[in-house]
Symmetry: D2
Subunit: 133 residues, 4 copies
């Protein structure tokens, strides 16, 4: 039931649609999504924009952190860029819960290219509103 609410919440995510991000799976404390690198996702030197990679990581982060009920508020994200990718690349991202308390949640995101190589790693912290469980 809560997962269904999370799906409804995520379907309303306009930026995800604008970037071509597809959310493929949501389970308690976990989410997975994908994004194809289209021309509008490139930066000035012609590789995938850091903002697009962050966007993908942020969407699975939001889905995973709201999977227990839709009330998580992102406080901070730390992202590490490991490898550049190019036009046509298909990126997948996962978010996994590393810690959950009554008030906070910590999530680990991995972004991979179509060869399965990790291209970015991120860590995201949320504050969970009272009554969020």
């Amino acid at each position: 039931m809560e997962i269904r609410n999370t799906q409804i919440l995520m379907e309303k995510d306009a930026l995800a649609r604008h970037l071509g991000i597809k959310l493929l799976e949501i389970k308690p404390g976990y989410a997975m999504g994908a994004m194809e690198v289209r021309p509008e996702l490139l930066n000035g030197v012609g590789v995938t924009h850091g903002g697009a990679i962050f966007g993908l990581a942020d969407v699975v982060f939001a889905a995973a952190s709201n999977s227990h009920g839709p009330v998580a508020l992102a406080l901070s994200v730390n992202i590490q860029f490991l490898k550049t990718t190019e036009l046509g690349a298909v990126l997948t991202a996962t978010a996994r819960e590393e810690n959950l308390t009554r008030k906070t949640g910590l999530y680990r995101m991995e972004v991979r290219d179509q060869k399965g190589e990790v291209i970015a790693l991120a860590e995201g912290l949320v504050y969970r509103r009272s009554g969020s469980q």
Copy 2:
């Protein structure tokens, strides 16, 4: 001359255009830009998407870190979300150089709303390719 090269580089930034980001100023070690929160930049709960805010911060980060010559490669960014904003908000972001060595550069980004309130803070680290000066 280098600033002009940086401007040319940034004009090719497709994601910046896709998100409606305008780069308003580039100086050595500094950049400033703006973005209006249009419907496609919202998340599922109807506030400005973290990915859009990061995108704006990332664009001024790229401009500032490439202002000495276009060769900086983002290694990591840490972003703190302080305040939500809504449809129609006009966000401005600055990037300022905090440290520059032969091989690395550190930048501080501030994102503000139209009232001048800070809504996000970020810190970005780049690797500078050899010959980059």
Copy 3:
């Protein structure tokens, strides 16, 4: 009164004493401290240990974040190391409040050497327990 409570709290900080950290000033949302780099604070290559620099930043962070009442709990810290220092260096650190909500606080730490050069920058986030104000 709250500042006095914070001072009492910080005087009990055993690690600060063990590292030779002196807390020199506490005001609401602000703290300043200093540490001399003694032999026991060096790393294997003979420069000031990252752990000692973090320790100094962490002590002023704790003082500033507890300056409104002693109940802040550190969630995360992001530290950037900019410059090495050596035996005999005198390091000073400040923590300034960047954001304060009912439930969270964000602090910026700067560590400088005796010449006033910034050697490390950090950002720390706390969770504030209910009733903490």
Copy 4:
């Protein structure tokens, strides 16, 4: 041979000794260490000091990142504190290489208590000096 050099480097780590940190294993891209929480490692509220936990994570980070030859320079560390521990706790920390390029290395640190529960997670980035391989 390089591991032996790394061991010699780490044996000279004065802060590790001052905090009671024991380095138990170094392999290429990996290190493990332990620390008992003695009275001098506590903070003002009587739990293990964030600076001590960071110190332990930083020592295994240094060992792992120098395991390919002693030339890695820490650029940044992001640490998340998940759980408090108390006097007498025995903490263990591991550092694992997540990415290695000619110029940078990324490491993941996990700190656990004697029950095996994760109490802190950290991510550390190093710059590798030329000729470091």
